[in-house]
């Protein structure tokens, strides 16, 4: 009997956020196909099934319920929406299924002592916020130059958008810059008054915490108001091709953070996908989008999911199908060193990620890329988020959560299991 490792795939290929959801989903699925083409995880083939959430929480929950028990049980879920993440965070422990939220989700879930089942691998929003401020400081010529400056945060008015606020407030207090908060209502097409306000208060920088159509609208409004695009920074969900494509030259100079990876179209992994899948007509989605920002993000999110299982097999038996609970151990003990990543084809795309019981994030590096009118180009070096600032924030928030939920922190013994 050949059993397969089952990966449920929550996607949104329809609705308001589809332009961003589709490339991510394509990358995710392509990687899983690639794993099989490479012979599986130590011989264990993977299977997967998509479920359309439309970015709506209740549909996401339904998908989760539908897929969690299928095909021998789900290995891991990647909710791909902050709202769904919040809902599943409550459910996953009961079902013993881990959640990976690579680059999104709740920032405090980096604390594995409280959030046993959540894995915001490779960075959280707090990391992103922190790095953006670092880059601004660097451009200004030092953190002390931030004093008296004015940064406006334009954010998607949802848990996703609000995640950025605490870290920016923390930094604002630290450096003495003024932070103004400008919420934009879902889905984000109505920003005229936001930009009137920006024109009135003329902030030195605008940080865009948007998603989907909000990003392109924001850039168009910036153009229409004459606000310099070079002074705008986007979060990593606001820095992909669909966000700028139809603005074209109008978005030239716009910066966005990119966590860990780049759009290396020439990287080994992209070539492999093209050769092993798209050349044989087994690829998902259009060929020329392979290697774009969101596609790559889907690709390595899937890679994390798979590598966790490989890690778990080290402990629970090579060539066996892992349960969710076993996979969780794998995610908690990831050790993706640079050679390992390079071997997987991620050379020049990813930096090492290694997790532990205390740290479910595994890495906190990011850099900035800039839209040159037709493609994204790196414009900064790697930054590391400031542990000194973020660690205490994570701990405080996680403790608050634990108190509310009456969860006791995991003991070192528990961490071993």
């Amino acid at each position: 009997q050949t059993k397969e490792q089952f990966f449920p795939v929550l996607v949104y290929r329809t609705g308001a956020y589809a332009p961003n959801g589709v490339p991510f989903a394509n990358g995710y699925v392509d990687y899983l196909k690639l794993v099989n083409a490479r012979g599986g995880i130590n011989g264990v083939k993977v299977s997967f099934e998509e479920c359309e959430t439309g970015y709506a929480t209740d549909r996401g929950v339904e998908c989760y319920e539908r897929l969690k028990g299928k095909n021998g049980g789900a290995t891991v879920f990647q909710p791909l929406s902050t709202g769904i993440t919040f809902a599943l965070t409550e459910k996953a422990p009961g079902d013993k299924i881990p959640l990976i939220t690579a680059g999104y989700g709740r920032s405090e879930s980096a604390d594995g002592g409280v959030f046993k089942w959540n894995f915001p691998l490779a960075g959280t929003y707090w990391v992103a916020g922190d790095v953006i401020v670092q880059d601004i400081a660097k451009k200004l010529g030092g953190a002390d130059k931030l004093k008296g400056k004015h940064i406006a945060l334009v954010y998607h008015d949802s848990p996703f958008g609000k995640e950025a606020i605490p870290i920016l407030q923390e930094r604002a207090a630290m450096h003495g810059f003024k932070l103004s908060l400008l919420p934009v209502t879902h889905p984000g097409v109505e920003q005229k008054s936001t930009w009137l306000q920006i024109r009135q208060s003329r902030p030195d920088y605008v940080v865009n915490w948007g998603w989907g159509v909000m990003n392109s609208t924001l850039l168009k409004e910036a153009q229409a108001t004459g606000y310099p695009r070079e002074k705008i920074y986007g979060v990593w969900w606001a820095g992909a091709e669909p966000d700028v494509k139809d603005v074209g030259m109008g978005a030239k100079g716009y910066n966005a953070i990119t966590m860990q990876h780049g759009t290396e179209k020439g990287s080994a992994i992209v070539k492999e996908v093209l050769a092993k899948l798209h050349a044989k007509n087994q690829g998902t989605g259009p060929k020329d989008e392979v290697g774009e920002v969101l596609y790559m993000r889907g690709l390595f999110s899937a890679m994390f999911a798979v590598e966790g299982v490989r890690q778990a097999q080290e402990k629970y038996g090579k060539g066996k199908v892992m349960t969710g609970e076993q996979a969780r151990w794998g995610y908690e003990n990831l050790n993706l060193t640079q050679p390992k990543l390079d071997a997987l084809g991620f050379k020049g795309v990813l930096r090492p990620v290694s997790t532990s019981c205390a740290d479910h994030m595994g890495a906190n590096w990011a850099r900035i890329h800039t839209w040159n009118g037709s493609k994204w180009e790196f414009s900064s070096d790697w930054y590391q988020a400031d542990e000194q600032i973020i660690k205490p924030m994570v701990k405080a928030a996680a403790d608050k959560y634990a108190a509310e939920k009456k969860i006791t922190r995991r003991t070192p013994a528990d961490c071993q299991s």
Binding site: R13, T57, V61, E65, T82, E90, G94, K405
Partner: protein, 358 residues
Amino acid sequence: MFYRENGQFKTSYRADQQIFAIAQDRWAILALIAFAFVGVPFLVDEYMFRAILIPFLILSLAALGVNILVGYCGQISLGSGAFMAVGAYMAYNTYIRIEGMPLIIALLAGGFFATLVGVFFGIPSLRVKGLYLAVATLAAQFFCDWAFLRIGWFTNNNASGSVSVSNLNVLGWSIDTPLQKYLFCLAFLVVFGLLAKNLVRSAIGREWMAIRDMDVAAAVIGIRPVYAKLTAFAVSSFIVGVAGALWGFVHLGSWEPAAFSIDRSFQLLFMVIIGGMGSIMGSFFGAAFIVILPIFLNQFLPAVGDMVGVSISTATVSHTEFMIFGALIVWFLIVEPHGLAKLWSVAKQKLRLWPFPH
């Protein structure tokens, strides 16, 4: 042949005023309720409970509430999502801010606050009617969306604006497994269903319907429009509020304002219209249609695709799902504009005549 009321003579008005005047109906309903409590738990797996039955029960309850306002009192409202949100957030606050607050009281408190808000936003109904009112109630929707996002107190100052509850229990029984949750919601639905049915067939229900059908004439026979409309808003938002609290507490566990967005308001209204305005039964039909059909299509279409040997992409499935869903709505309306409940009663009427039509 068998579905007849022949020979069932009513000897008192009480008998004639029973909820289901025909004995077969009475037994069928009792059997159905008994089955729902006792039979279903043995037949159904966890997915069915969590993804289909529990949402169905809770949204039926909400649709019931909306039906009182829209179907019985004729006040079209698009603010139901907001009233659900008020129920959920206020139940949450009652639950976490008051030490040892029993769950049921917290849920009812959610309903109570929803009532207050509902009555407040019902005040324009005294002057504004029909579609104008419908759009005016959107003010409630957008205002509440905003308030819950923006006013920290409601979310216990959670940075993300999302709240969650856990470890629910009623009098020491924990409400944890899907089965327990199902039974809990079912109990709520049965109780509220009965109370609502009683209301709509009592004096107050007749006042609502009178206002709906011909408000000037209603005023002339002494019905106060103010009282009738506001009680309808009150009762409706209470039920909707409780449903909202259940949705947050029992179904989602953790939620943000988007869970009660304008889409939810529309969804509830559609349930009522598709199910049948002014029919308690219709609320259930409508909820079933709107909750279950998309899920069904979503799983059924790929299966069909597999059968004919093409694999359908997720996007195509959900586009097709949209199209079929839309087409079915139109088709049902053409077959029976007064909703599924009416279709049901016409079918019963035919059955009553069968096998000798006319």
